[in-house]
């Protein structure tokens, strides 16, 4: 019978496993212990004060143990084996809670709710026979991403950008959009400031999606071992819900901080430093985690997915850093938040030319495919045209109309943080702009019309049905444009412009 280290006292483990260890060298966050002759790597050990540790390596003399708590230990403290690998309690009760990577509430004095099951935190990813092709799209609710850099359910897409460029805002919008569709949203805050964790929690509460969300959080003042565990724990919870047949959106915010904390642990464990002092296994540390996301077969017959959005912070817009490029090669693309675009007032400040999606396009319908193609070629043309006008040449009618259309399209892409647009509404709005319905309107009016559309789509059932029918009846984008041209007056009448 395996004992549960969340419930049983220290003495019980000593008596059961009949092995004891003693702290010999304390070099926080790692300790070296004598004794424990049969302990295994990755086994959880318990200290005499009830705190837990995790065996990271063994040598002839000492056992190396990573600590999950910050104080209470001294030289000579007793250690007992638990015979278990590291596990996290999981269950439906986790929904709506904010927990530490070991499953306790982040609020002191609030015990975690009783959970039904336990899941190992660090396991091997399911092999290829359990996986399915990514075919379903993920709606982020952010028009720029949904139309230009589409994502699929089960995709791993890195979100990269300098600090304070709107990465977290985009992630919150995505979670808002997905949670409303019934997807389980798990937000892993890795070594974040406590105030930032609270802001995310408040966002969930304010938007009524807390019951579909879980926050797994460690703050920068937590034990290094705990911070290191955060994304693994969050992934284990995601796997639990995946196995229940629920789609999961997992946000890992952020992996460059995770790499820094892991570097600190490795250097203090006297492991040999490699490039930028990161340990040699930093790639494996991240790849074995992100490989656990994907689109999977499920006994119900319907595939289930863990869509993973790992965040990486760049410095001065340099996305060719070590960790960023590692993550690029692990993930299926990246969305790049540009600080210059942010400074120019663009929200979201996504640089679509430097962003990549590898599997998202295969999930798109004919109509979205058409929008994507048109938009891509138009934005390339717009970029060329904008660089051309720098020469101060006289502008002909064609160039002027391209620039004007460009302004309208970019105004349409400007989206406030707390608003998400349904994909059908996005396509119809873009179609209307593309056909020049709002040709004479200013950028501010375009933004106003976009906001009005979001509001009407949400509150006016008749309008929503109209928009949805337009999309379902259209065979492709050109067909939609034809329908829009015919029904121009009818659609504009909804706006009372």
């Amino acid at each position: 019978m395996q004992l549960n280290y969340y419930k049983e006292p220290f003495e019980k483990f000593l008596t059961t496993y009949e092995e004891v260890g003693y702290v010999e060298i304390l070099s926080y966050p790692v300790i070296y212990a004598s004794g424990l002759p049969n302990v295994k790597v990755r086994e959880v050990v318990m200290f005499d004060d009830g705190s837990l540790g995790y065996v990271t390596s063994l040598d002839k003399e000492y056992v190396e143990i990573l600590l999950f708590s910050k104080d209470g230990l001294r030289i000579g403290s007793k250690i007992a084996r638990t015979g278990n690998v590291l596990e996290i309690p999981v269950g439906e009760e986790l929904l709506g809670t904010s927990i530490t990577p070991l499953g306790f509430s982040i609020y002191e004095g609030y015990p975690a709710k009783r959970k039904a099951d336990f899941r190992p935190i660090d396991i091997h990813a399911l092999d290829i026979s359990y996986r399915e092709k990514i075919t379903e799209p993920v709606e982020t609710g952010v028009a720029l991403v949904d139309l230009l850099i589409p994502l699929g359910k089960g995709q791993r897409e890195m979100i990269v950008g300098d600090r304070k460029t709107g990465k977290t805002e985009f992630l919150l919008q995505t979670m808002l959009s997905q949670a409303k569709k019934g997807t389980i949203c798990i937000y892993a805050a890795i070594g974040k400031k406590k105030i930032d964790i609270k802001k995310v929690e408040n966002f969930f509460v304010r938007n009524g999606i807390i019951e579909n969300s879980i926050i797994v959080a460690t703050s920068s003042s937590d034990a290094l071992g705990l911070v290191y565990l955060t994304p693994y724990s969050a992934m284990s919870i995601a796997e639990y819900f995946r196995d229940l047949g629920r789609d999961v959106l997992l946000i890992l915010d952020d992996m460059s901080t995770h790499a820094k904390f892991y570097r600190e642990i490795s250097l203090l464990s006297k492991r040999f430093p490699g490039r930028s002092s990161y340990p040699g296994d930093i790639f494996y540390t991240h790849s074995r985690l992100l490989e656990r996301a994907g689109n999977f077969k499920h006994p119900s017959g319907k595939p289930v997915s863990i869509t993973c959005l790992p965040v990486a912070e760049s410095i001065e817009g340099d996305i060719s850093g070590y960790i960023q490029t590692n993550l690029m090669s692990i993930t299926d693309g990246h969305v790049y938040f540009d600080k210059d675009l942010f400074a120019n007032g663009r929200r979201p400040a996504i640089n679509y030319f430097l962003s990549v999606t590898r599997v998202g396009r295969q999930t798109q319908s004919q109509i979205r495919w058409g929008v994507n193609r048109e938009l891509n070629s138009f934005l390339t043309l717009l970029e060329k045209t904008q660089s051309f006008i720098h020469f101060g040449a006289e502008l002909n009618e064609g160039i002027r109309s391209t620039l004007s259309m460009g302004e309208h399209v970019l105004a349409f892409f400007d989206q406030p943080m707390d608003k998400v647009i349904s994909i059908n509404m996005q396509i119809v709005l873009f179609g209307m702009i593309w056909l020049g319905f709002f040709k004479s309107e200013t950028n501010e009016r375009i933004q106003f019309i976009t906001q009005l559309s979001i509001e009407k789509y949400r509150s006016d059932q008749k309008f929503k049905e109209k928009i949805d029918k337009l999309i379902s009846d259209a065979t492709d984008f050109n067909n939609l444009l034809g329908s829009l041209s015919i029904k121009k007056d009818e659609i504009l009448s909804f706006y009372q412009l």
Partner: protein, 168 residues
């Protein structure tokens, strides 16, 4: 060069058999330090000779062992350091008992353990009345709890539970 012989090793083992527990070994190491200080004054030409220093510090069987140990030694300082290292490196057996044991019991326990472990050791004795009786032993990372409290706990979880249900 200071060389140890088989005969010397036997003397050290005899000493370990006398020490038995860590508390005795600590006391002995303090005495050894005192001896080294006296030895320093002897070599400076001030104090008494080696044998009177040994007689002053140790008594009984320990005195005889120390006399024998130092009589063949050419370098007293190195011999004392060697002895100190030997004692510090002796494996330690942690032993928890419910009551303070008598010396005869401790010696019997020591000899029994030496016979089974096959080498000298020092007993690190601690007293914990919570174990009620029996002993808790840990040696080289192995931990054996043969205390009465564990037996009672186990009883109440198995047969005792059935009896309690019947009685109540």
């Amino acid at each position: 060069m200071f060389l140890k012989t088989v005969e010397d090793m036997k003397i050290e083992e005899k000493l370990a058999d006398l020490l038995v527990s860590i508390s005795n070994s600590k006391k002995f190491l303090d005495e050894l330090d005192l001896f080294k200080r006296k030895f320093f004054t002897i070599t400076e030409g001030k104090g008494t000779d080696i044998s009177s220093a040994i007689e002053e510090i140790w008594s009984g069987e320990k005195r005889e062992i120390m006399k024998k140990y130092f009589e063949n030694s050419s370098n007293f300082n190195e011999s004392a350091d060697y002895l100190r290292d030997y004692i510090l490196k002796l494996p330690k057996v942690s032993l928890t008992l419910a009551i303070q044991p008598r010396n005869e019991f401790l010696n019997r326990l020591y000899l029994w353990m030496k016979e089974h472990a096959g080498n000298n050791m020092l007993l690190d004795i601690s007293i914990d009345p919570k174990i009620i009786g029996g002993l808790v032993l840990s040696y080289k990372g192995n931990y054996i709890n043969k205390s009465l409290s564990v037996l009672i706990d186990r009883y109440f979880m198995t047969e005792g539970k059935e009896y309690a249900v019947k009685l109540l």
